[in-house]
């Protein structure tokens, strides 16, 4: 098993999960509470990575991040190198790829909140920010955990996008899934076996957390809350 690839994957997954949470919270809030009729368009856009082959996503990401893409050009002008085949580029592409896994659990949990609680909060003088941090966020807690865990796990296991955008540079863009692929190509089944098993265990653990939280097994007020 390659420790370097593993560390890289964990670093990538946690960076992506953290950044996605920051982006997904306001996006999900808006999607859950807007009365705009065209919001289904944005919902479709957010869900797109679910159905698009990772290679297609990766291809567009590569173009955008490369020296001819707008973002890539801007980046090159600022930092002197393009985003393609770098860790930062990988983070950006992975965020795109895992976006629905962060946004959808949040939207679902925001939408399932009793709107009267938010009305009560406003009537009691709370502005939007206070309502969000005192009422919405604590009550949508399982959704937040689900969003973080799923985007982490999903990024950990991605392959196609990484290959397209990041290539296979040891210590920079060679993640565990790429590493497994490499080893299988090189007929190193023993190494591949260890890494694959490790990913399997992590994925299972992560999903158990998600399902457990949503059953309120680990909820801080599960046994005290009125259904």
């Amino acid at each position: 098993m390659s420790g370097q690839a593993l560390l890289l994957s964990l670093r990538l997954a946690s960076t992506v999960a953290a950044l996605l949470l920051v982006i997904a919270l306001p996006l999900a809030y808006w999607l859950a509470f807007t009365a705009w009729r065209g919001k289904f368009l944005l919902e479709s856009l957010v869900a797109l990575p679910l159905v698009l082959p990772p290679t297609v996503l990766g291809f567009y990401a590569l173009i955008a991040l490369g020296p001819r893409g707008a973002l890539g050009r801007l980046w090159q002008a600022m930092f002197g190198h393009t985003l393609a085949f770098t860790f930062t580029g990988l983070v950006l592409a992975s965020m795109l790829y895992s976006l629905p896994f962060a946004v959808q659990p949040l939207v679902t949990s925001f939408e399932s909140l009793d709107r009267r609680l938010l009305d009560a909060s406003s009537v009691l003088g709370a502005g939007r920010a206070r309502s969000f941090f005192r009422i919405i966020l604590p009550l949508a807690w399982p959704g937040v955990v689900t969003a973080v865990v799923l985007s982490f796990a999903h990024t950990l296991g991605e392959f196609g996008v990484v290959l397209m955008v990041g290539g296979n540079l040891a210590g920079i863009t060679r993640t565990v899934s790429i590493d497994i692929y490499d080893r299988v190509q090189a007929l190193d089944y023993t190494g591949a076996k260890e890494t694959a098993l490790f990913l399997l265990v992590i994925s299972f653990a992560v999903l158990s957390v998600v399902y457990g939280v949503n059953r309120r097994v680990w909820s801080p007020w599960s046994n005290r809350q009125a259904h």
Partner: protein, 365 residues
Amino acid sequence: MLSVHIEKKFQVAGTPKFQLQIEEEFAPGFTVVFGPSGAGKSTLLDCIAGLVRPDGGKITFGEETFFEAEKEICLPAQKRGIGYVFQSLALFPHLTVAGNVSYGLSGLPAADRVGRMERILGAFHIERLRGRKPGELSGGEKQRVALARSVITEPRVLLLDEPLTGLDGGLRRAILEDLRNWNAGQRIPILYVTHNREEVDAIGDRIVVMVDGRVGERGTPREVLEAPRAVELAQAAGFENLLTGRVLEHRAADGVMRIGLDGKECELEIPLGNAQMGETIQVAIRAGDILLGTRLPYGLSARNVLPGTVESIETRGTMVRVQVNAGVRFTVHVTPGAARSLELAAGSVVWLVVKTHSCHVVTRR
């Protein structure tokens, strides 16, 4: 004085669209907002609170404008200084009683906050609940907490949407008493939505009746509910007998008219109304206002004596509900003792006695 002049299209799931149209002033003290469900009572409260934006009109409180369509003024809910207890109560499930009650005090210095909270917890008798979460409270306790949470901010208007539903009479009276005592020092307008006759009688200052998005009637509960003028109100106010009949004769000199019920052989003398000869009208009679006799009574002042047969008898607590077929079906309430001494049973032949002024002409909309 809270002044509400608004219109708002609204829709309750599964019913046709309504137009809420209200022109009403609410003085300090209790105003009961009464009416059948779907009449727009909650929508009215939501408009006043700033949770729903009316389509047009104006809402002012004293000098201050909460809403004015023409000037595009719409003060957000958090700036209106209104207390609101929702039908669902909407207690924050993750906060303790203390957290819920003090939620609206975030702007105050900590010392004031503590002092005010102690006063309010005391006034509503919930001091010992302060550390509990809403999930650990009984129905009555939740209702007390919701009331305490809504009044602790010293609101300028208090909106109560069936806040005491499901409580037994004694508990309800006790909570109402706490609320009354609290408002003795505040003197703010309190809008109190309820379907419950007992609550209406217990609060009793002033009542407005909403039917289909409009205020149909207003006055004291006695004036309004003892002589309902609309079918929906008669049903809501507990008039069990709603009969349809045709005007047969006007006797203006006696102040009465005679109607034939549903084309049957059954006639009633009722107070003179502004109905034309031959017009079909609705008459509401309380089941408790009808007398039952097992022999033909005579020497009575009551003008309506109708023969009939008992169809069914049903005991409901301390009341016996008797269905009598007298050409049309009447519902009569008697006491269990009366039912025993008259030896009432299905098939018994009885006479119904109805005073002229127990009959109230009501109209459809």
